[in-house]
Symmetry: C2
Subunit: 358 residues, 2 copies
């Protein structure tokens, strides 16, 4: 008998592939839905000053107390209703770990944020994918039908939705929250770019959970996500949270940046302006270049190409502009996603796209 | 029908309690097995300089390429045999996620590092706990008997073992690695304080996995652990690793500190000296104070008290010295654990212990 490692792996893991972020080196990076602006030198100074006072040899504050207080001061949510994760990814993992047995199901519309499905599958939890309608909105009738049949433990709704960019209808989301007994996770990763939030609904709906992240507003490198829910749900998640899941440096840096929130807010406004600029410019590329952009409430725009999207994507990288290639069979056929860049990056992208899509 | 959140929680999670690090405020903290020394101002300067060049708005390097290269340069292990985690805790979680179905079992001697059991239980995996022998060494006969009966998927061995402080017999560990078909995880979190490692055994044993951490040698705040194993095992773990599990700041800071490894090494030597000092001093407290220290190869010392350990622990905190109270029914009855401190902290601890244990 010899050791066969592959046979020891859990069955549902064997067929998974490792998630690999795009690694093409391009001077202009508009592929990862990051904030394209860095922080100014005065804020950077304050971040470094704060970091210099952290004792690296000591474990972090397990409860991220100061950071949660700062989030609370900014949002009005009580600190005890907030739990911090090593990115939203870890919070999704915690939710599935706490609530889903093997036979349980999670439901989400597709296309959407890929980690809902990837994480569920890595835990052997069944995923139910309900296609969005032709407007990229939730297909409420289909979700309800599937809910009755499958009774999913968790329903994930990302609004604005990635990669489509639109907000789902508020009424449909409320209907799902109020008329199901699932945990409804509203992922508001991109909500800063449209100003809509379901936080007010938390006091009415104990099955509602809201996910937030600092990754889209300028702090992707820190890996700080947070989850807002009833104290009851928060306390359950603390049971399975790794004691030191959030490191000292990220807690410290995030706290300082959030204290100077007007800088983040002004960058968000610039990104919204950039999005509207890109939308207008992309609309002009219909006739000659065959480009059709979709409406966006986020910091990125999804667009369809008449010509082969793979070729356009490849040629754009040759022009030094990296965007996200989502081309695959199904609703995203010939679809590409561009993250809003700095003004000069937006110009360069439009110029390059005109050149390669003609 | 009303929503009952508690009924939605996985059964195995319901009975768990959240892990709460000790939160007593004391000027002298010798409870968490941290390195008591901070880095000097010149190294801190270099860390801050490196951090100042990181774009916080961009996602981290998913593969922690530079950090793994630096670990490789220091250890001689190939970068592709290393995977970085958000602390060892996350790596333990990844191992259980990848390899353990619900009915699977993991085995470890007790007392040992509590997270092996806590994480396994949070995933509903069965734990088999085999008591250490009277010398705190592995009970090889009992482990083998249990192995035959239970065929555990993973065996966790922490050496030097926390909280007992001793290294397990090398021959017994080798016997377990070579004569079982389990994955054998040797947790070398404290190995820097004794110089022993099983890295050389990796080329002979494809079921061997080694865990390392930077938490005990001065970087607990960063949350950087790493796992060394065959490329086959590493590739399996990448399938379920969250894409950005290690943040940019911690990767950057750890890389700089490891580049200046002579500082870490000199601190390790000072800690070993401090441990030997504490051991000698504790041995002197047998007759009058009723203290019996156990031999240690780590950066902490376990000791037994004749009087009530809870009272001694409480009185020590009143004296401003926080150590770890492990007093519980079973082999750790009246046991306390003290982490080696700076020389003046070691003196203060001994002085306080003499006072409160008399």
């Amino acid at each position: 008998m010899k050791i066969n490692i592959q046979e020891m792996v859990k069955k549902n893991i064997r067929e998974l592939k490792a998630y690999k972020p795009e690694e093409i080196l391009c001077p202009i990076r508009m592929e990862a839905n990051e904030n394209p602006f860095t922080i100014n030198s005065s804020l950077k100074e304050r971040v470094l000053e704060s970091i210099s006072r952290i004792s690296l040899n000591r474990y972090p504050d397990s409860l991220a107390t100061d950071l949660r207080k700062q989030i609370s001061a900014k949002s009005g949510i009580k600190p005890e209703s907030i739990i911090v994760g090593n990115g939203s990814d870890e919070l999704i993992q915690m939710l599935i770990t706490a609530f889903c047995e093997n036979e349980d199901k999670v439901l989400f519309p597709v296309p959407t944020f890929s980690m809902f499905g990837i994480i569920a599958k890595s835990f052997g939890v069944n995923t139910i994918e309900i296609p969005l309608d032709s407007e990229w909105d939730i297909d409420l009738a289909e979700i309800k039908k599937s809910y009755e049949k499958n009774l999913p433990k968790i329903i994930f709704l990302s609004t604005p939705n990635n990669p489509t960019g639109n907000c789902f209808s508020e009424n449909k989301i409320l209907d799902i929250i109020e008329k199901t007994y699932s945990l409804v996770v509203v992922d508001e990763a991109y909500a800063d770019f449209c100003g809509k939030t379901f936080i007010d609904q938390l006091k009415h709906s104990k099955n509602l959970i809201i996910l937030k992240t600092l990754s889209k507003v300028g702090m992707a490198g820190l890996r700080v996500g947070y989850l807002i829910a009833s104290k009851e749900i928060i306390n359950i998640l603390h049971k399975i949270r790794l004691p030191y899941n959030s490191n000292s440096l990220s807690q410290g840096a995030a706290k300082v940046i959030l204290t100077n929130n007007e800088i983040v807010e002004s960058q968000v406004q610039q990104i919204i302006k950039g999005r509207e600029f890109l939308l207008e410019e992309l609309k002009k590329l219909k006739d000659k270049e065959g480009i059709t952009p979709f409406h966006s409430n986020a910091n990125f725009i999804l667009f369809k190409t008449e010509k082969d999207a793979d070729a356009i994507h490849r040629k754009l990288t040759e022009e030094g502009v990296l965007i996200r290639n989502l081309n695959s069979d199904g609703p995203l056929k010939n679809c590409l996603r561009v993250t809003v860049g700095r003004p000069e990056e937006n110009d360069a992208f439009i110029k390059a796209l005109k050149k390669v899509a003609q």
